[in-house]
Subunit: 289 residues, 2 copies
């Protein structure tokens, strides 16, 4: 049965979810709210939402499922803002890239983790942001991670799972702490490396004159994620600081080892690193390309 | 007037150049040689070359232009192998990713840099290698760098420039040392970082079980260059070791600064890095995307 959906945070992810569920016939109505009036206007104009709430509580009032789709560090404030509009029956869920921090936020706001709260993370997105870039097929064939908690209501979990399945996403369940370790490695650290690399180049003499103008296709792909929203990634790295810092330390150590190989002229050791890396990537390539 | 072309090293670049010049009607004939008989056979079967030399000297005999398209560290050996087949009139050129090392190699083999040697570097390629992946449009709208040397014959330079223009490449001239500094920054260092990152992940517990399987589109693009040929990149980094080591040191220092920001909780400084990086990339984005 189509549900009444509310989306708080009308950006790329919230907007794409609303569009995907609408196309799938999974929603009877979509209400929405964003702290940026321009996003609300665009969401109404594009037909992403049917009704704009005057505030977050108003947007979620009467909804069967309320999705919080804001930058990770704004999650607690968004939960608090929605709270007056939520009923006992409302299923509350999120789309945050870190899951322990979101569970901590919901616990701070409600005094406990509500059984009908479902923590979710779609492994999709682009470096583009804003509701104008929302796409109904953004999640198709992508992973959607659910991290069930100790007091999880199974019916709420099943409903959220069903909604994401309707977008074409492949739903996977895992522990929140493991989730955060995995994504520190596959997503958060590479963003940090890409940003740092581009910033380093930008400080070189001739950066604008002849360095960036000679960048090719390898550079373009390697740095694509450095065009992502700085605010969003500030939030994610801050919310997942401990695993990210540990991996960054490991990465610095590895790069220092490589620097030593170049200094010593230990080219066989360097090539061995390249060969292991290529082999590892090729083992997993078919799935992600 | 169509020229007689010889290609020594029948890989992605040599094969693509032969195909591009043939499609442009710029060649009367193409002879070729590769130390790997399988590449020679494929090049003949695909019509990339008309005639296979029994060795490199045989392949270049009678050619107007001989292109050496081998891994950078094999350049000197390839020059030496071609030498008996070259006449005074033959224009000799290369496609190496480092230019000072190639000029040094040609100097070692001939006792001086021959005026009719033209150092060239096409800014194109993919992570795929081998003549089977050769594409006639690989160079279209990409940069082609020429690094003229002190005793450069201007007619030879003009001929090589004309050939590359016929592939659709945009020809740019610069100093060999500056070339090597620029590409250490835009190409060589990112390859090193991508390889090191994937190798680091591969050593983590659960790498194959749940880390790589949860990699998404950001990871795919960031690590694409880690699927490049380890041998080729071993050669390039070794041939350009000094600028690469200096930039790698800078990158390690920048990452150590970022690690300090996370440890100290200096999130504003971290976000400022992200914002500078995104702004720098966006300034140059339109040209490369």
């Amino acid at each position: 049965m189509p549900i009444r959906l509310a989306v708080v945070g009308l950006g790329l992810i919230g907007g794409s979810l609303a569009r995907a569920l609408r196309e799938a016939g999974a929603v009877a109505s979509v209400s929405g709210y964003d702290s940026d009036p321009a996003q609300v206007e665009a969401a109404l104009a594009l037909g992403v939402i049917d009704r704009a709430g005057v505030d977050a509580a108003d947007a979620v009032r009467g909804a069967d499922v309320a999705v919080i789709a804001v930058p990770v560090l704004a999650t607690a404030a968004a939960f608090a803002a929605c709270k007056p509009g939520l009923s006992e029956a409302t299923i509350l869920t999120d789309v945050g890239s870190t899951k322990q921090s979101v569970l901590a936020a919901v616990c701070r706001v409600f005094g406990h983790v509500p059984p009908r709260f479902v923590a979710a993370h779609p492994i999709a997105g682009t470096e583009k942001s804003g509701v104008a870039n929302a796409q109904p097929d953004l999640f198709r064939d992508h992973r959607l991670i659910l991290t069930p908690h100790a007091t999880q209501d199974v019916e709420a979990l099943a409903t959220v799972e069903r909604l994401w399945a309707a977008t074409g996403a492949r739903v996977v369940k895992m522990d929140a702490a493991r989730h955060d370790s995995i994504f520190a490695a596959t997503s958060h650290l590479p963003h940090l490396l890409a940003y740092s690399f581009v910033d380093m180049l930008d400080q070189l003499e001739g950066a604008d004159a002849d360095i960036f103008p000679n960048a090719g296709g390898g550079f373009r792909d390697f740095t694509r994620i450095a065009s992502s929203s700085p605010r969003m990634w500030h939030d994610i790295l801050r919310a997942n600081a401990e695993p990210v810092a540990a991996l960054l330390r490991k990465q610095i150590d590895e790069l220092t080892r490589l620097h030593g190989m170049i200094e010593r002229g230990d080219w066989d050791a360097m090539q061995a690193v390249f060969e292991r890396a290529r082999a590892a990537r090729e083992r997993h390539l078919t799935r992600i390309e």
